[in-house]
Amino acid sequence: MSNPVELKEGRNQLFSDPDADAARQFFRQKSRAMVNKVTTVREAVKTLLKDGDYIAIGGFGANRIPTAVLHEIARQGKKNLAFAGHTSTHDMQILVGGGCIDRLDIAYIIGLEARGLSPSSRRAVESGNIKLTEWTNATLSWRLKAAAMGLSFLPARNILGTDTFNYSAAKEILCPFTGQKYAAYPALYPDFAAIHVHECDVYGNARVLGASVSDQDLARASKRVVLTTERIIPNDEIRHTPHATFIPFWCVDAVVEVPFGSYPGNMPYEYFSDEEHLREWLTVEKDPEEFRKFYRKQILDTKDFYEYLELNGGIERILKLRAIENLVANNKEK
């Protein structure tokens, strides 16, 4: 087949293997038994994540994030991780603070949206010590979807003609039916994913309320998946409304019940983000030394997520954030 159109390729590195047969070989031996998977955050991170792995985090920035798992990754000193930066903001702050990352698929990880930029994430990315490959939010979504579908690539119509393409690892292809030029995105099969959900049963059958971002695909695409959940619910409840199941058990390796587990992030219908605490991060990050101390106190020297939560106001703080989430002006009466 002669091809008069020159097809371009992004020049940057691909940090994960898109091969669908290689992924299938992994999934072939992954357990599909519906067994009780309840464990601790410590155990889940210890057994399911190893140095050098490619990781991805559910939710969106500071919304519905598995904070307990992120802290524990830092606490256990995991190193040389590659990270899918698909609007990953507070998650990036935690992982960068712990020095856990050396490769980054970057779409949006420095800004905390309307809150401003993270000085430490920015320093890390400007330092040259982290390898960067450019993508966009949609490309990372579609890279996960390609994997969830069991493919090695998907075509799409964005990023063509830009430097975002030039510094990605995408490739141009032609539609065999129309001749139209497309960007082809390599499937992204993360080694490890952590997702915080509203409710799941002990087997990992999970429900998410509100916007789901890319988590349906993320759970399916990832080789090992940890769920933290606001609450564990009976399997009967899952079976009562099977079309509401968002993640089925066979995707999931570990379940940990972590109420308030998205703190300081927003958990829809549960509690709003702690904007004061997030502002404290952005302020203290300006001075690397101050940030180191803050990070040690908040994360490395706390034994678990509950100690961290207690340090920042505990359940009383959550009740205030719940009032904000519920658009109640003031919860003094409670």
Binding site: G111, T136, T164, Y167, Q180, Y182
Partner: protein
Amino acid sequence: MADYNPMELMICVAARNLEDGATVVVGTGAPCAAAMLAQKTHSPNLTIMFEAGGVAPFLPSMPISVGDSRTFHKAILASSMPDVMETCQRGMVDYTFLGGAQIDMYGNINSTMIGDNHARPKVRFPGSGGANDLASLCWRTMMMTPQDAKRFTEKCDFITSPGYLQGGNSRYEAGLPKGTGPYRIITNMAIMGFDEISKRMKVLSVNPGYDREDIQANCGFELMWADRLTDTEPPHADELRILREQVDPHRYIIGR
């Protein structure tokens, strides 16, 4: 000077471009304010969408994240990022708004970095997020930005999001969907569109208090000018009242 600030002007002008029955994907800040203002004035049936999955919410206040609970408060749909982006890719989304550190004469936008070494940039910005996606896939892209000669640059250090690329038909030859592209650049000084053939930036109307010389002096490339250059209609009292009282009562955006 009249009783409004440049941000208020830009938001009012942007809102007027969002007709009733249209769809728009917005981020936080000024674009969201413009969409809310349009909805509360002439476009009650404007569908506001957020890239994390929220569609057509009753926005109780300005979201702080395009994925926070506000973006799907009493919404029609709390869906997923791929669903929203695919809705754009399918051609069902009319408008979006972008921001950026640099913009060139073809409306290409840099929100990634300053410098010439991608691995070690002089300054790193947030990067694309969903910006490239929305600029590629929505029909019409708008931008609200203060205007100066550094930001309006001959050449972006990095093209994060596509405008008309190298002008002419280059955007569509690159494979981007036909008929899409930058539509309005709304600055403190002027409103720009793009020439139909060359796809170069063209001034359509001049904001109160500025003239052609100001506008060209604060632009790093040569602007084109509409044959019928008009004066930008300043914000109406009604627009300002609704913007200040209902859209952004805490002045998060218009107080900047």
